[in-house]
Symmetry: C2
Subunit: 281 residues, 2 copies
Amino acid sequence: MQEGAAEGRREAVDRRLATLVPETAGAAARLTEAARYALLAPGKRIRPLLAMAAAEHWGGDPSAALDAGCAVEMVHAASLILDDLPSMDDAALRRGRATVHRVYGEDLAVLAAVALLARAFGVLSGPSTIAPEARLRLSAELAGAVGFEGLTAGQTRDLHQRNGTGLDDLALLNRQKTGLLFELAAVAGALAAGADGQVEAARRFGERLGAAFQIRDDLLDVEAEAALTGKDAGQDGDKPTVVSLLGAEGARARLATELSAAQAAAGDGPLMRLAQWSFPG
Amino acid sequence: MQEGAAEGRREAVDRRLATLVPETAGAAARLTEAARYALLAPGKRIRPLLAMAAAEHWGGDPSAALDAGCAVEMVHAASLILDDLPSMDDAALRRGRATVHRVYGEDLAVLAAVALLARAFGVLSGPSTIAPEARLRLSAELAGAVGFEGLTAGQTRDLHQRNGTGLDDLALLNRQKTGLLFELAAVAGALAAGADGQVEAARRFGERLGAAFQIRDDLLDVEAEAALTGKDAGQDGDKPTVVSLLGAEGARARLATELSAAQAAAGDGPLMRLAQWSFPG
């Protein structure tokens, strides 16, 4: 993917996110404001870009996957709000800005996360160029990605079961916390392109890209100062990561392995161009 | 509805809820435990019973609406977990038992609510005898009932905008916090029966029954002691309710008006038998 093409798509994503979660008036306006504060914070939008690249990769119109990709981004934003809560990571900063609960209070932070999650299901199941059966499938997959074997399970594991975690446990944790939404974004792109037969290839690509992304995130946490990442410095300091288990060199090697596996899953084309754009050098 | 028939259905609902949210093993077992603690707490199960009665009312098999009704019950249970949080009502008791966050901690309470919500969407969009287009419609309606114009908006309003609330504001609040899920349950029943043309009648019935239910709840709060309701006594003491605005007699009259309107919406039959069973005397 050319830098310019990715930037153009990212801007399209930002515009669409703002449209899909519009400001509201009245007594609950602050709820929407809190949700938009989280959702529209500057970000790479890798999940929507992945959905669009997957649609393009399998011969579809990238814009057919825009809304589904935005739905995944909403769930991602919701999960960050929850991760940051005082009862969880108790984070003050996220992406260089005060966390949602620090600005809007804990009650509105929780409610905004829930509302964003509901909106994601609404976007996936609402009117769309994606076939009805495929929309039902995406909605069911999103439910799985969030539910008792998904994000919420991963976050439970992250908060309560990190001591003594080995590489296999960590792989499951990272799949639940990161991988499943990457998989869903890629699957949504394949389904938006009508490429039902490519769903499993899309899933494998998303899984591997998600794993690579998590390793890169862990590397950045170690290497960068808070000023660079916008997160509290040392926030993950007491939790095992791929970097703490394998060292920085080992983690970089594993990241390369994941990207090779992603390439093996989908071959060259728009998906690998997105990966190369995301992981320069 | 005969007392025995309602009891039999309630037991079927309880069994199905336990099946739809099974225990899990491993690191996230406590998440499921927290969700089941909330979901399987003794309750009237009025929402699933409403879905089943609506299916029967319009000539369908009540069991065709069982899963959709259970999905609505999951969302209801999730909303109670959130309402009780320290950052919201800070309740110690619910249905006579310690609230979820008091037993499992605030982090697992929030995550259990989110997982229950996701599971509800999974049940609605998963395999079912309800037609695919109808399932998509239910999933989209649930998203609306929870999202920025639904439960989360109602809870925002409840927490931040109660001062000076008049009857109209209160009606909107109660519709967002209670009515929309009653409407959805009734609509799900109509759709499960294949009675697409009765969706708006079902919605009106659910809206009126939900309003009646909320008034009865407010009456109970005022009339009963904590020992009888299982809630903290005077929990709603500083918030306007239909009872505080109209007095107990006025509220009872309004309750009767709502039930008459429910009857006008759907006529006699299984739905009014459920209403009569729910509001004896």
